[in-house]
Symmetry: C2
């Protein structure tokens, strides 16, 4: 049994101290893309009030990152829901636009799935929030399926008690959503994904199906452990799970993954497929405090769905 994802020896690739100004407590759970040959991480950054903004880190080689001086120019709230916090962006390219799905939080009412788009990561455009209340980890598929946009998400009950599962919804226009149905459930038993499962990376299209790298949660007497695993969804009907790996593929094991705002946590909003069509880079949140890089092969991750 070999390790499928290798962690970069220089991890973490971004830490709070890398944020100019010294006012960041945590940087984590970025969306990750390549734009004009540059790696861009759109990161959760917690200031000293523990409020989140999005900020970019940039790299030419994918390993050495520089954090922007300022947050991105985030657009005003959807007028239907005042957004006091935002986090966990997933970035999906459709046509010439990048769509950012994220958790939009009103501190009194709760959290929903927000949507913002950009063409250049300089100017950002607000769209109506997508989900109802108490639903996050929204991930937009990179193409229409059956003529409709599709998103995975994770509706919540009480986050500390109820299991949380991956669901799917469809939309003709990114405004009205429906045909909502469950996709992947927590695994019965004492597995690593027995307490919660949620969509992670933007699904990668392969001839075998949509590869989805998802997070699974184990609940212990001392709290939650977040790990990553893989499943394969049907290309035509992504509510159908073709295969689901028994084993997790990334887990906390080092200090920077074990201790932080939320310890024993690795979590991803991205899986970046390189131009070779085989190398996958995952810029993962480590303990809700910094960002690590793990690299592997698409073919290995696909095979892992069947183990």
């Amino acid at each position: 049994m070999t390790r499928l994802l290798n962690k970069y020896e220089g991890n973490p690739v971004v830490s709070p101290a890398d944020v100019p100004g010294g006012g960041a407590m945590q940087v984590f759970n970025p969306g990750a893309i390549k734009l004009n040959g540059e790696y861009l991480l759109l990161m959760d950054v917690a200031d000293l009030s523990a409020c989140y903004h999005f900020r970019l880190a940039r790299s030419r080689d994918g390993y050495a990152f520089t954090v922007d001086d300022q947050p991105v120019d985030w657009p005003p709230s959807d007028p239907d829901f005042e957004e006091q916090n935002r986090y966990d962006p997933r970035i999906t390219k459709i046509g010439d636009s990048w769509y950012i799905m994220f958790a939009a939080r009103n501190d009194r009412l709760g959290v929903r799935t927000g949507l913002v788009s950009t063409r250049d990561f300089v100017h950002f455009e607000r769209h109506p929030n997508c989900s109802e209340l108490n639903n996050r980890n929204g991930v937009l598929f990179p193409e229409k399926i059956g003529g409709l946009y599709a998103r995975l998400d994770r509706p919540m009950g009480n986050p500390h008690v109820d299991p949380a599962n991956i669901w799917i919804s469809y939309s003709p226009d990114l405004v009205f959503w429906g045909r909502t149905k469950p996709v992947l459930q927590v695994r019965p038993g004492e597995f690593w994904d027995a307490q919660k499962v949620g969509a992670g990376a933007v699904p990668i299209r392969t001839p075998q199906g949509w590869l989805e790298i998802y997070h699974g949660v184990e609940k212990t007497c001392n709290g939650f452990i977040y790990r990553l695993g893989v499943c394969l969804l049907d290309l035509e009907d992504p509510s159908k799970v073709i295969a689901r790996g028994r084993n997790c593929v990334l887990w906390p094991e080092h200090g920077y993954e074990d201790v932080g705002r939320s310890g024993t946590t690795v979590f991803t909003c991205n899986a970046l497929l390189e131009e070779d069509g085989e190398t996958v880079k995952i810029y993962y949140g480590a303990a809700d405090r910094c960002i690590g890089l793990a690299e592997g092969k698409l073919s290995d991750l696909l095979a892992a769905c069947y183990t």
Copy 2:
């Protein structure tokens, strides 16, 4: 200060013993309409397994009801979500169809808002479920607003801890829903509606606005108390609350309202406006066990929104 809603002296109007066969533990929270001169109550009926089906009670005068021998011929589940239980129907007439919004429950995954229509209360047609997970008390407005169908509902967190509020969503086609936003929140303080508020009756159109009779919950050390109150929503933009009564208009006070499956509870899914345009009949669930009737005047309920 006079009482706005008078309870019928012959209450309850329907009890479990009225259900033919003797196998009903509870009958409550009906939708209520008039069809061809007949009052129809579409009721939650709990059998001895505590599973719910819908059954009709009929009356010529609105006071003496006879319960059908059999449940209604309820259509199979939405294939996207196996419905093992269903309850709390709200019945809205649009055109020639009656649309029934209700709580559709899968015992493993949770509860959503279901939708079934009928033209005759004999044949029923299934539509896709409307809401995401953990959302019930869906109430469809009786006309399109700004060219869109509209529903009130109550997304939930943990039902025993989190406050629950009234929200609204819109749809071009009853399949895809969006423009979701909050409408009415729990009242800060120790009021009768400080813990939860949820849509109750199908809104009644008046020149002053949509009259909505909603339920409010007070949380005590011994459990919840459910009461009914009134608010007025803007005709063009029903997410705007024009007025909200300070006082509840119906509350538990008698034995059949105080003791049952869920004691100290009055709850409604209906408010039936008679042909005189003034008399309102509310067939309310009492303690989740039987059905009471309360009568009042539309003008009084409207005025109560401003007290």
